[in-house]
């Protein structure tokens, strides 16, 4: 069986035995998701690259502590990434402000192009504005929005990652979106 078809958990078992090939497969599987997650949280590409590297470095180091019976690898990985984001940002005393320059340079992902160019442009503008507003949210609010909308995680999984109850997360998500809408309203701009 080709190693690329292995489950995350099977690969992690190999990684815990210092199998670099298995580690590379896992990295390739999750690099884009984790990079975009940390990019949205950190707001700067160079910092996000450091955070991505640090996340997978910790995965390599702590592979032996991963217990598949306690939950999926994906949830465990996001928990590691979230811890990295929190500790690194506090350590570096980053201001957590997503700069407009970063968006202009295309650092922040823009929406998928739709068939209609006008609609595509509109969605791109919307996404640019949302990205900018996202940088103004509190870290806790931003984490939830990014985990749900960028990480594609369910609220039950986010509850497992953050340790907060599912109902609380949903209420915070709603507040975060309301805050985003407020920041995007014409009066605010």
């Amino acid at each position: 069986m080709d190693i690329e078809q292995f489950s995350d958990e099977a690969l992690m078992k190999r990684v815990s035995n210092r199998d670099r090939q298995a580690f590379q497969v896992l990295y390739c599987r999750y690099e884009v998701r984790i990079y975009n997650f940390v990019l949205r949280c950190a707001g700067s590409a160079p910092l996000a690259e450091d955070l991505l590297q640090e996340t997978f470095w910790r995965v390599w180091q702590a592979a032996g502590t991963f217990q598949p019976q306690k939950g999926e690898f994906r949830t465990w990985l996001y928990r590691v990434a979230l811890n990295v984001v929190r500790t690194e940002l506090v350590r570096k005393r980053h201001l957590l402000e997503v700069s407009d320059q970063a968006i202009v340079e295309g650092v922040i992902p823009v929406p998928v192009s739709a068939d209609d160019p006008a609609e595509s442009l509109q969605r791109k503008e919307e996404a640019d504005l949302v990205s900018r507003a996202l940088g103004g949210l509190s870290p806790v609010m931003r984490e939830i929005v990014v985990l749900r909308c960028v990480g594609g995680m369910k609220f039950s999984e986010i509850a497992s990652v953050t340790g907060a109850p599912e109902g609380t997360l949903k209420a915070r998500f709603h507040r975060a979106v309301a805050e985003l809408r407020r920041r995007l309203s014409p009066e605010e701009q």
Binding site: Y35, E49, W60, P109, R148, C149, A171, H174
Partner: protein
């Protein structure tokens, strides 16, 4: 009827009902949504915001991140001191302890061998007299050794398997 709560609106947008929730909740909430313009507006705004947030294109990270990570792993594995496996000490002490325990049992049993009353009470005195003191001791040592080997075999097998895996 009361308006929908924030978390209920989010649940409806993502259709993520927590485990153990009432299956009729969705139908009740949707009925309210159809009848309440305020909640409908909130729901549609939330839905639109979520679709914008989810419609992002994912940027791949630059390849140099993987290169740096590889270099870090390589450097650490080269420069880190050789891990000294001291688990054999624990195993050795375990085995030595087992042997001492067995010897102690032999000593206790050996002293009991001297006592003819023990064998008489067990009805084995005629057999003992036939074998003689040395015969009994040899039989006892052979029996105890076999038992010890049987007891240690699984431990040694498990240990060799564990060290082979590591």
């Amino acid at each position: 009827m009361r308006h929908l709560l924030d978390r209920e609106l989010v649940t409806l947008v993502f259709r993520e009902f927590p485990p153990g929730s009432d299956p009729e909740d969705e139908a009740i909430w949707r009925l309210h949504l159809n009848a309440c313009p305020d909640c409908t507006v909130k729901f549609e705004e939330l839905q639109h915001a979520v679709s914008v947030l989810q419609g992002s294109r994912f940027e791949p990270p630059p390849p140099l991140v993987w290169a740096r990570l590889q270099a870090r792993i390589r450097t650490t594995s080269v420069s880190s001191p050789v891990a000294i496996d001291l688990s054999w000490i624990r195993v050795a002490f375990g085995h030595i302890g087992g042997i001492f325990l067995a010897l102690a049992l032999i000593a206790v049993a050996g002293s009991a061998l001297e006592s003819a009353s023990v064998w008489k009470s067990m009805g084995l005195w005629p057999v003992c007299r036939e074998l003689g003191g040395r015969g009994i001791a040899a039989l006892f040592f052979f029996g105890t050794g076999s038992l010890l080997a049987l007891a240690l075999a699984p431990v040694l097998w498990w240990e060799s398997r564990r060290s082979g895996r590591g």
